[in-house]
Subunit: 275 residues, 3 copies
Amino acid sequence: MSMAEPVSRWLERVRAQRPLVHNMTNIVVTNVVANALLAVGASPVMAYAPEEAADMARIAKALALNIGTLDERVVSAMLIAGHAANAAGVPVIFDPVGVGATAYRNETATRLIESVNLTVLRGNQGEIGFLLGAGGEVQGVDSLGSGEHLPRVMKEWAAARGCVAVATGPVDYVTDGTRVFTLHNGHALLSFITGSGCQATGLIGAFCGAAGALATVETYADACVAALTCLNVAGELAAGTASGPGGFQAALFDELYRLDGVTVDRLARVDFLEV
Amino acid sequence: MSMAEPVSRWLERVRAQRPLVHNMTNIVVTNVVANALLAVGASPVMAYAPEEAADMARIAKALALNIGTLDERVVSAMLIAGHAANAAGVPVIFDPVGVGATAYRNETATRLIESVNLTVLRGNQGEIGFLLGAGGEVQGVDSLGSGEHLPRVMKEWAAARGCVAVATGPVDYVTDGTRVFTLHNGHALLSFITGSGCQATGLIGAFCGAAGALATVETYADACVAALTCLNVAGELAAGTASGPGGFQAALFDELYRLDGVTVDRLARVDFLEV
Amino acid sequence: MSMAEPVSRWLERVRAQRPLVHNMTNIVVTNVVANALLAVGASPVMAYAPEEAADMARIAKALALNIGTLDERVVSAMLIAGHAANAAGVPVIFDPVGVGATAYRNETATRLIESVNLTVLRGNQGEIGFLLGAGGEVQGVDSLGSGEHLPRVMKEWAAARGCVAVATGPVDYVTDGTRVFTLHNGHALLSFITGSGCQATGLIGAFCGAAGALATVETYADACVAALTCLNVAGELAAGTASGPGGFQAALFDELYRLDGVTVDRLARVDFLEV
């Protein structure tokens, strides 16, 4: 019951491989997701046209889908990209932003989950709790909390689906259906910038993209733990120099760029939960 | 002829209520509008699909419409959201970005103004002057100035419409049809970052969203004065530490986040104009 | 074989004229392109609707087209805007972002190049090499390098087309079909922020927009050299104060804003290549 490798090994792998991550993300956060991926050493691309969604997904090392500002055309393109990624063995990360807020988001999230084989589902605790029926609540795209049984429900869902479930919050939960990781790094300022969750989804794409073509669900769970820990530790370091959320977002990129393996392994606070 | 409460009371209200602001804004500024709202303590959501525009507007505490990068689908969704907000008593703020630059913007602005009951109309002086027939001029989305009678024309328009009119510039004008406020805070660097006006519109949404369900046009005018004063005072403070517009935008978020009531009331420069 | 005027003269011209640049750029970079243009002293506008594309292009001093996140509607609007700009004598800059990555990007880039009279074609070396058949390679939207004959192929293409070709990279190439400039300014951090190439395209728009209505291809080439040199020198100055890519992007805007003619002329490293 532990990670097969330290977080630092995953960070090295991302920087050495520079994986291409195809992001179909929302218009609020495209810039910061791209910059977070560049900062950590990955190669982001954004492509939304149905005409090229399959081509781009196939040449990518990971596909990250995010419905933060969904519309019908982009959802169509996401389905095309998701199917192409599935056929090519490219891992797919899905971020159901704002699910629980409107019927359209709920229907779209369900449609994507039922139609595409996901490698990772990542949302905040309100979103994941709502989506898995564990009593999550959202206000717009912000979590208002989740039921107390969230980790257990996530574990069962992940086991049934054969994929990884991730719910971020004051403590992050990551489960592959067998293990449930609890991640204790991070900083309150992450909730005062827009798109910290979307950046997490993008980074999970990069780390899953560096996992190799034959990765198992356990390996992808480790990739998620490593990605979130890098982001959260960078957040802790950034908070040390920032005087507010504006400086914090810039410093977060700087710290992702400068993050070294010794530091991240030393600061990482990864535990397990028995549920 | 004064505000019923100090600016600081409005700031407390926003932070205590964390109002959900539904923004349908342009693709240039989505990120900074979201970050400005988070920094001041509000909860931003962006949603553009016709399928969910009404649902999101109804659960929001304010709806902010901005035609900076309009297209036909988004305008349709804006009309749907505007009508839903009207029916639910949710205040609607409209920002006619770039009106005066193209016929399409002029027609769309007129269409939105005639079809939706606005709570607040906010633009730069060129836009508002053009729209109200007071001789405003724009270059693209930048104001080239307005006629000298702008405050009087705004006051008459606001009185006839029963809503608030706001024109920002070196001095900002806010009128509810009875009072005309002149706001003297701000800094020249605000015109060297993109979206300072759009951030003003978003913040006005947050402050109007905190005004309560039975607010009058006078109360909404006070909310506008408070929102602009917070932004402008934060701008003055940010300019003190920034060495250019890049650092200034980050510092602006920091100062909105750190702004305290004593400071904002001490620095506020709100006057009245007899027209 | 030299520039007719120093870089500083071009910078003065941009600041004095404040040219309106109509950008039809991708959703990842709209904000930073607008901020780069404001910082250098130009006036950016973004407009994508087919209904207003022609009107906006006609009143602009330059039109910058960028297919980073293309879709069919925006491409239609780009064609409309391109034709209107051609008819009005407004210079058109085209940035074929990610060409080489998908068939749809290749077809769209070819369609725009064949249908619109370009003033400047600007991409990274992988994109330009691919597009002109000089052996360029891309990964998503990042250059993996180009054939060794790139400057010669660019020169021949520019001469045949009667326009300027620009390929940016560790060394930038600018050619008007007669002269081939090599630009040696810049900093490695420019490749760790998203949209540095797109910002270059926007700035080239501003400088070409300040070239005057009767500018020749040689004058536009000088404008490109000046724009890139300002950006690259600002990058060098920004790197001196930044501790990573987040701080670097903010500092880049600050340095563009503060850049003075004496400094840019002193630091400029512009050479020629005989091919």
